[in-house]
């Protein structure tokens, strides 16, 4: 079974992000980037599918030069090959999905795995778009997966419970937390990953469908509720503490 795993780089959750000078992107200076946590489940699942049924695992990322690093992590975890699609434009999901779909048309994987979302932009759009562009079934938020021959059975997390679904290969899967327990890369494999080749690929050129106008950081607002020691204010304060703050 040939497996394509799509991964991305996201700012570390402990990093403080700042908006770039163009007002519509993140300023990457000083930001520590990590592998998108949900993608770890996708990589692990890819490796397990390969261990069970043979084949190869290819990992791809679409992004700026710095995002190449996550491919090394995937290679260290055991991915066979890696493809880097350089795209400095930080465009919308449709642009990224087009590049991935074009790669898939070329290398014809049996299954494409994603993390359920990237924790930076949270668009949740990529797996479905790639499925649509390829005309393949797409199963999202998968927490349990079995593939026998071309038969895919999966469990999905839905509000308040689980849903069992089936489909046939080729298909697109997005991984939910709990799908597996991702492995740590072994130290000798980290060393070996250094010398595994990463293939460079040109991004597909399409018009973005969604344009980011601006980005802003949340501002903390003061309510400017100033109370005096007048009886009316004290009553008001008691009411607010009781009804709004719900502390008394």
């Amino acid at each position: 079974m040939n497996i394509l795993v799509c991964i991305s780089q996201v700012p570390d959750t402990t990093t403080r992000v700042a908006v770039g000078t163009d007002g519509s992107s993140i300023n990457p200076a000083g930001v520590k980037f990590i592998l998108n946590p949900y993608d770890e489940f996708a990589i692990e699942e890819g490796l397990r599918l390969r261990e069970k049924s043979g084949g190869t695992v290819t990992t791809v990322t679409v992004g700026p030069d710095t995002s190449k690093e996550v491919l090394r992590t995937a290679l260290a975890m055991g991915s066979d090959t890696a493809v880097f699609v350089k795209d400095e434009s930080r465009s919308d999901s449709f642009v990224v999905a087009s590049s991935i779909a074009d790669l898939a048309k070329e290398i014809t994987p049996d299954v494409i795995l994603f993390g359920r979302q990237s924790i930076d932009f949270d668009s949740f759009a990529l797996p479905s778009m790639v499925g649509e562009l390829l005309g393949w079934p797409n199963i999202s938020m998968v927490s349990s997966l079995t593939i026998e021959g071309t038969q895919v059975s999966a469990e999905r997390d839905i509000e308040g419970g689980k849903e069992s679904v089936s489909a046939t290969l080729p298909c697109v899967i997005s991984a939910q937390k709990g799908l597996n327990d991702p492995r740590y890369p072994k130290l000798p494999d980290i060393m070996k990953a250094k010398s595994k080749p990463i293939a460079d690929r040109v991004a597909t050129v399409v018009e973005p469908r969604v344009v980011t106008l601006s980005m802003t950081l949340p501002v903390s607002k003061r309510l400017n509720n100033i109370m005096t020691d007048s009886d009316a204010d004290i009553d008001q304060l008691v009411r607010l503490l009781h009804e709004e703050a719900k502390v008394i």
Partner: protein, 383 residues
């Protein structure tokens, strides 16, 4: 000039160690400390990932990494649990290094390989009840017998002593030659007459097992002498030179763990209506802790870097250990102060950091001995 840029590989090793420490080591650290329980599962997993033979060549099953990778891993693991740190340090710096440097191919195949892949771990037996800083005065005797040696004596303070499978034991083979008459023996755990004693009940690093070992007519075949007969003291001293880099990195980790805990707590704890990190008295502590930590880090990375470049690192390793162990103790003390009463109870970790920190000023050469090593190297250069 010392400049250092971590490579992508170094960063990945550090991040892997950090993630492992946070997810696999931290959850059980308080309980293991309280009960003096060895981290069996954690060491097994670390072994599988290649952390027990980090610098051993892949030819012998090791990870083939440099000393800088090793200190990065030691720092991250020890920042969460210094007991796990010392178990790694002994196996990597003292056991694997000695076997790889002085062993025959047959010895490496038999003992280094299982140690490097982490199937088993080892212990290093130099200290005795009456030979600590003065390691030359070995009382354990090895007498020549047919086909090997017969060992009698007592070893003290042996890290990994109750859990190891392979031991490197120093013993006197020729008293007249004094330290040139000390030899190093490879001894397996279940050898008749080789008896690890009860675990010591320690102040800190309580999850690491330390014990004394009795040797009564222990027969060791000739092919289990490591290096030449009479080379034992040299093996011990040279491995301890490298071992100090490992312990310095352990101390660095404690200094970092203490600082991180203090910084986080200071921004969360409120007093007089604002976070205590707004108070200048606390800011001064944070600034001093951060500076001490960074100074220790520079010396530790520098010592590792010199070793990687095959340059003389004896003084650099001693300086790194001296400074980093002070930084560990001072940062742990200050971290408790920043925590106030909460720092005095187990739940908030920093009291353990202080108990763990103290050992780094004692083993693999006390701070007093590091001064002697450093002074000797300085004076060697001018005389």
């Amino acid at each position: 000039m010392f400049t250092l840029q971590l490579s992508e590989t170094h960063e990945m090793i550090r991040d892997t160690a950090r993630q492992f420490a946070r997810d696999e080591v931290a959850p059980s650290s308080i309980e293991r400390d309280k009960n003096g329980e060895f981290p069996t599962e954690i060491i097994k997993k670390l072994g599988e990932l290649g952390f027990l033979g980090m610098m051993v060549s892949p030819e012998w099953g090791g990870s083939g990494l440099d000393a800088l990778s090793y200190v990065l891993a030691m720092e991250e693991i020890s920042a969460v649990d210094a007991s796990v740190g010392v178990i790694l340090s002994v196996n990597n710096s003292l056991i694997c290094w000695s076997l790889e440097t002085f062993g025959t191919d047959a010895q490496k195949e038999k003992w280094l390989r299982p140690l490097a892949v982490g199937q088993i771990h080892g212990a290093f037996c130099l200290s005795e009840p009456e030979a600590g800083s003065d390691a030359t005065s070995q009382h354990t005797l090895a007498e020549k017998v047919d086909g090997g040696w017969s060992l009698n004596g007592t070893k003290n303070w042996i890290t990994n002593g109750t859990t190891a499978s392979t031991y490197l034991v120093m013993a006197q083979t020729n008293r007249e030659l004094r330290h040139r008459g000390i030899s190093c023996f490879i001894i397996e755990r279940n050898t008749p007459g080789f008896e690890p004693g009860l675990k010591e009940d320690k102040l800190g690093i309580r999850s690491s097992d330390t014990c004394s070992i009795g040797l009564t007519n222990v027969f060791v075949p000739d092919d289990q002498v490591l290096g030449d007969v009479g080379q034992g003291f040299k093996i011990a001293m040279e491995s301890l030179n490298g071992g100090r880099i490992g312990i310095a990195a352990q101390a660095l980790g404690i200094a970092k763990g203490s600082f991180d805990a203090a910084l986080l707590y200071s921004t969360q704890r409120k007093a007089f209506g604002k976070p205590i990190s707004d108070l200048q008295a606390i800011q001064l502590k944070l600034a001093e802790m951060a500076t001490r930590l960074e100074a220790a880090r520079v010396l530790v990375y520098r010592a590792a870097n010199l070793k990687d470049q095959h340059r003389n690192y004896i003084m650099a390793a001693a300086q790194a250990k001296l400074l980093a162990s002070q930084a560990a103790v001072q940062n742990a003390l200050e971290a408790i102060q920043v925590h106030g009463g909460y720092g005095y109870v187990r739940e908030y970790l920093v009291e353990r950091y202080l108990r763990d920190a103290k050992i780094t000023e004692i083993y693999e050469g006390t701070s007093e001995i590091q001064h002697i090593v450093i002074a000797r190297e300085i004076l060697k250069a001018v005389s």
